[in-house]
C-alpha cells in the first residue's frame, strides 16, 4: 500500500524572498539563535533558580516523603518542570524537527476568509485552544489514580506531558498547519495509505463513542440521587436556550454581555437548587435514580445534537469557557493560599497488587491509561488538527499554542490530583468504591474501607454523614466517577478561603455544575462530529447520506450514534460490578490508542521528510503509548484475573450460571449474573476492536517509515509555500528583536491589508 496521494516533491523551492516594500515578515534564524545564546547574568540566575526550586520540590515529593507532604511542592515541581521543558525541549523540537519558517504564510493568511480562516492574536488563540482541549478528562483521571498514591500520578502527569502529550499536540498542530488545516483523518489517509487511513477513521469513530459514553456515565454518577445537582444542572438547559435566543434575535454578537448574564443565572441556579432540594416536593421531584437519569441523558443527547447550534451548543460553549478559565484560576490561587497537607502515601499497596477498589489493575500499565488527559491525550489531535491551525498567525507561534497549551492542561490535572489527595483517605475510598462493595450504605462503606487495612485510615460513620451534610447531599457513599470526589476536594479547599463549612455545599455544587457543563457540551459536540463521520462513511454506499443537510439522514445517523453510546452508558449504569471501575480503563485505553494513532501519523510525516536523526522525538512517546495501550488491552483480553480480564470475568460468571448458582461475587441474582456475562463480552470485544485497529495503524506507519528510509525520501505532503506579508512575535512575550521589528510595522501608515492587531 503506497502513501502517494497528496504527496508532492520538495525539489522546486518556492520563492520566499522578503518584499522590500514592507518591513521584515520574519526574523533571521541567526537573530533567534543569537538571542537564545545570549546568556545575561540575570537570565542565568533565573534559570538556575527555577532548576533549583524544581529540583527541591521533586526531592520533597519523591525522596523526603514525611508523614505528610505539602501541596505547594506539587505546584512548584509542576511549574518549574514545565518551564524547563518548554524553554529547552520544545525549543529543541522547534529547531531540529519542525523548523518553522515565518517567511511562509499560514493558512489563516493565505486562505483568509474572515470567518473560518482568520488570523488571531497568539494570546487569544492560546485561550481558545486551551478552552477547546481542556475538559472533564484531566479532572477525573487523576482523582481515580490517586488510589495508587500521589507519586506515580504526579510523575506521569508532569514528565508525560513534557515528553509525550505536549509533543503530540505541538506536532499535530504544526503538521496540520502546513497542510492548510487538514484533519487527522485526512492526514492519516495521505501518509498511511488506504488501509491505515481507513483503520484510523474507524478507530476514531469507535473511540469517540466510548469517550462520550463514559463521560456521560461520569455525569450520571454525579447527579443520580442528588436533587440539588439535578435541578441546578437541569437549569443550564433553559439558561442556554435563553442565551441562544438573546444572541439570535435580540442582540446578536453581544457575547460578553450575555455570558455575564448567563453566569449570574448559573449561580442563581446553584443557590436555588439548594433551596429547592430542601423542600419536600423539590426533593421528591428531582431525586432521580441512575437508570432513568441515564435514559434522560440519552434523550437529551439526541435532541441536543439535532437542534441547531445557535440554540443550545453555542451559548453553552460561552458559559463553559467562562467557567473553565475562572474556576481553574480560582482553584490554583486557593491551593497556593491554603497549601493543604497531603496525607496519602507516596505509593500505596494497590499500585503493586492491582486490587484497588477504584479501578482495578497494577501501576503498569493501568496508571498510564487511568490518567490519559493531562499527560497524553489522543483526543487533542482532533482539536489540534481542526480549528486552531486555521487561525494561527505565524508558524513559530505553534510552539506556544500547541506545546504551551498542553502544559496548561497538565497543570489542571495536577490541581485535580491535589484536590483529590487533600480529602481524608477513608472518605476517598468510601466515595470511590462501587456500590457492589459498599452496599451503598454508610455502615457498609465504613466496614469495607476499614477492612482494606490501610495505615492511617480509620473511617467513622459520622465522618461520612457529616461530609454529606456539609456538601448538601443525602449521602456520599459510592459516588464513583471522580467528579463528586473532586468536588468534595474543591469544596474542602475553597471553604478555607471563602465562607467556611457553611459554604461547602455551594462550592460542591459549583464544582459539579462546572464538570457537568463541560461534559454535556462534549456529549453534544461529540455526537455531532460522530454523526458527520458516519454520514460520510455511509455516503460511500448510499450517496444520499453525503448530503449533511438532508434531515432524515441526519436524524438516522444521530440516532445510530446516540444508540451506540447510550447502550454503553446503560451498560455502565446497570453493571453489577460497579460501572466506572470496569469501563474507565476502556476510556483511557481508547484515548491513548488515539494518541498512538496520531503519533504514528506524525512519525510517517517525519520519516518522509528524511529527518531520521530526530525521529526519536516522535518514536519515544509513540513507543511508550503503544506498549502501554497494547499491554493494557492484552491484559483486559487475556488476563486470567477476573478483576482485570473481561473474558476471565465472563468465564467465571458463565461457569457459575451453568452450575445453577443464583448469586456470584457481587452479583446477587441470576439477572445480575447474566448482565455481567453480557457486559464483559461487549467490553472484551471492544478491547479487541481497539487494539486491532491501533496495531494496523501503527504497522502501516512503520511500513511508511521503512519505505521512506529505504528510498532516502525527502518528499513532503505539505501544501506549497506561500510568501507571508505579515509579522507577529512568536511567544507570550515578544523578545527585544521581535519588539524592534514590531515597531517597524507599527510605524507604517495604516493601509488596511496588513494591519496587525495589537495593544
Amino acid at each position: 500500500m503506497g502513501a502517494k496521494s497528496g504527496t508532492t516533491g520538495a525539489t522546486n523551492e518556492p520563492d520566499l524572498t522578503q518584499d522590500p516594500a514592507i518591513p521584515p515578515v520574519a526574523l533571521d534564524p541567526k537573530v533567534h539563535e543569537a538571542e537564545e545564546a545570549h546568556w545575561t547574568p540575570v537570565k542565568i540566575a533565573t534559570w538556575v533558580a527555577i532548576a533549583l526550586l524544581g529540583g527541591l520540590s521533586w526531592v520533597m515529593l519523591a525522596v523526603v516523603r514525611g508523614e505528610t507532604v505539602n501541596a505547594i511542592w506539587f505546584v512548584f515541581a509542576a511549574i518549574c518542570t514545565y518551564l524547563i521543558g518548554y524553554r529547552f525541549y520544545s525549543n529543541y523540537i522547534q529547531k531540529h524537527l519542525l523548523r518553522p519558517d515565518d517567511r511562509r504564510a499560514t493558512p489563516a493568511e493565505y486562505k483568509a476568509d474572515g470567518k473560518d480562516y482568520a488570523r488571531t492574536d497568539r494570546r487569544v488563540l492560546f485561550g481558545h485552544h486551551f478552552a477547546a482541549i481542556a475538559g472533564a478528562g484531566p479532572l477525573v483521571g487523576p482523582v481515580l489514580a490517586a488510589q495508587m498514591g500521589y507519586l506515580p500520578g504526579t510523575i506521569w502527569i508532569i514528565v508525560g506531558v513534557v515528553l509525550a502529550g505536549a509533543v503530540q499536540d505541538y506536532l499535530v498542530l504544526f503538521f496540520s498547519m502546513r497542510r492548510g488545516g487538514r484533519s487527522l483523518g485526512q492526514m492519516a489517509r495521505d501518509e498511511l495509505g488506504r488501509v491505515g487511513g481507513t483503520a484510523a477513521l474507524i478507530a476514531t469513530l469507535t473511540i469517540m463513542v466510548i469517550i462520550v459514553a463514559i463521560l456521560a456515565l461520569v455525569v450520571v454518577n454525579a447527579l443520580a440521587e442528588s436533587a440539588w445537582g439535578v435541578f441546578s444542572v437541569g437549569m443550564t438547559i433553559p439558561i442556554a436556550l435563553f442565551m441562544g435566543c438573546y444572541l439570535r434575535f435580540w442582540r446578536p454578537g453581544k457575547v460578553t454581555e450575555i455570558s455575564i448574564i448567563g453566569f449570574v443565572l448559573l449561580i442563581a441556579a446553584i443557590i436555588g437548587g439548594g433551596a429547592i432540594a430542601g423542600t419536600e416536593w423539590g426533593a421528591a421531584m428531582f431525586h432521580i435514580d441512575k437508570v432513568p437519569l441515564a435514559i434522560g441523558i440519552i434523550v437529551y443527547g439526541f435532541i441536543a445534537a439535532i437542534l441547531p447550534v445557535w440554540l443550545l451548543l453555542a451559548p453553552r460553549d460561552y458559559l463553559s469557557t467562562f467557567m473553565k478559565i475562572g474556576t481553574i484560576g480560582m482553584l490554583a490561587i486557593a491551593i497556593v493560599i491554603v497549601r493543604p497537607e497531603i496525607l496519602v502515601p507516596a505509593v500505596t499497596e494497590f499500585a503493586k497488587t492491582g486490587t484497588g477498589p477504584v479501578v482495578s489493575g497494577t501501576l503498569f500499565p493501568f496508571l498510564f491509561v487511568t490518567i490519559a488527559c493531562g499527560a497524553l491525550s489522543g483526543f487533542h489531535a482532533l482539536i489540534a488538527s481542526g480549528t486552531t491551525p486555521k487561525l494561527i498567525e505565524k508558524e513559530r507561534q505553534s510552539r506556544f499554542i500547541g506545546y504551551g497549551g498542553m502544559l496548561m492542561e497538565s497543570f489542571v490535572a495536577i490541581m485535580a490530583l491535589v484536590a483529590a489527595l487533600s480529602i481524608d483517605q477513608g472518605i476517598y475510598y468510601a466515595m470511590n468504591a462501587s456500590p457492589a462493595l459498599t452496599g451503598g450504605t454508610v455502615q457498609g462503606a465504613v466496614a469495607f474501607v476499614n477492612g482494606l487495612g490501610l495505615t492511617g485510615v480509620n473511617l467513622t460513620p459520622e465522618m461520612l454523614t457529616e461530609t454529606a451534610r456539609n456538601v448538601g447531599e443525602e449521602s456520599i457513599v459510592s459516588r464513583t466517577g471522580g467528579a463528586p470526589t473532586l468536588s468534595v476536594g474543591l469544596a474542602h479547599i475553597m471553604q478555607q478561603v471563602a465562607g467556611g463549612t457553611g459554604m461547602m455545599a455551594f462550592w460542591y455544587h459549583f464544582a459539579i455544575m462546572f464538570e457537568a457543563l463541560f461534559i454535556l457540551t462534549a456529549v453534544d459536540a461529540g455526537t455531532r462530529v460522530a454523526r458527520f463521520m458516519l454520514q460520510d462513511t455511509l455516503g460511500n454506499v448510499i450517496p444520499k447520506f453525503k448530503d449533511t443537510s438532508w434531515r432524515v439522514g441526519a436524524w438516522i445517523c444521530t440516532g445510530i450514534m446516540v444508540a451506540a453510546w447510550g447502550a454503553v452508558l446503560v451498560m455502565g449504569v446497570t453493571d453489577p460490578l460497579g460501572g466506572i471501575n470496569t469501563l474507565f480503563p476502556l476510556f483511557g485505553i481508547a484515548n491513548q490508542l488515539l494518541a498512538a494513532i496520531a503519533l504514528a501519523v506524525c512519525m510517517a510525516i517525519v520519516a518522509k521528510r528524511g529527518l531520521f536523526r530526530y525521529i526519536w522525538i516522535v518514536a519515544l512517546p509513540l513507543g511508550f503509548a503503544a506498549v502501554v495501550t497494547i499491554t493494557a488491552s492484552f491484559l483486559k483480553i487475556f488476563s486470567p484475573v477476573p478483576g482485570v480480564g473481561y473474558f476471565a470475568q465472563n468465564a467465571a460468571f458463565s461457569k457459575a450460571l451453568a452450575a445453577g448458582e443464583t448469586s456470584f461475587g457481587t452479583a446477587t441474582s441470576v439477572e445480575a449474573m447474566e448482565a455481567v456475562v453480557r457486559n464483559t463480552m461487549v467490553q472484551g470485544i471492544l478491547s479487541i476492536v481497539f487494539v486491532t485497529l491501533a496495531v494496523i495503524v501503527i504497522f502501516t506507519a512503520l511500513q511508511a517509515t521503512w519505505n521512506a528510509w529505504r528510498n532516502h525520501s525527502n518528499a513532503t505532503s505539505e501544501d506549497p509555500a506561500v510568501r507571508s506579508r505579515i509579522f507577529a512575535p512568536a511567544g507570550l512575550v515578544a523578545t527585544p528583536a521581535e519588539k524592534a521589528t514590531q515597531a517597524e510595522w507599527d510605524a507604517r501608515p495604516v493601509t488596511g491589508t496588513s494591519k496587525v492587531r495589537g495593544h
Partner: protein, 69 residues
C-alpha cells in the same frame, strides 16, 4: 499620573482580551477582512451584523468541531 495610565492600559488590555477570547470581536474582524479584500465594491457588500452571526452558527452546524474530554 503614571499609575493612572498604567491602570488604564491594563484595564484596556484586559477588556480587549476578554472580548477577543469570548469571540465578540469576530464581526469587527470579518468587516476589516472584507474591506481589505473588497474595499467599497458595491457588488460584494459585507454581511450585516445579524447576517454574520447567523452565518457563523450555521457554519458550525455544517462543520461541527469536537470538544475535548
Amino acid at each position: 499620573m503614571g499609575a493612572v495610565t498604567t491602570v488604564r492600559t491594563v484595564a484596556a488590555g484586559l477588556a480587549w482580551y476578554v472580548r477577543a477570547v469570548s469571540g465578540e470581536d469576530a464581526y469587527d474582524r470579518y468587516l476589516a477582512h472584507h474591506e481589505s479584500v473588497h474595499g467599497d465594491d458595491a457588488a460584494e457588500p459585507a454581511m450585516t451584523a445579524r447576517e454574520f452571526w447567523r452565518d457563523r452558527t450555521d457554519r458550525q452546524d455544517a462543520n461541527p468541531q469536537g470538544r475535548c474530554c
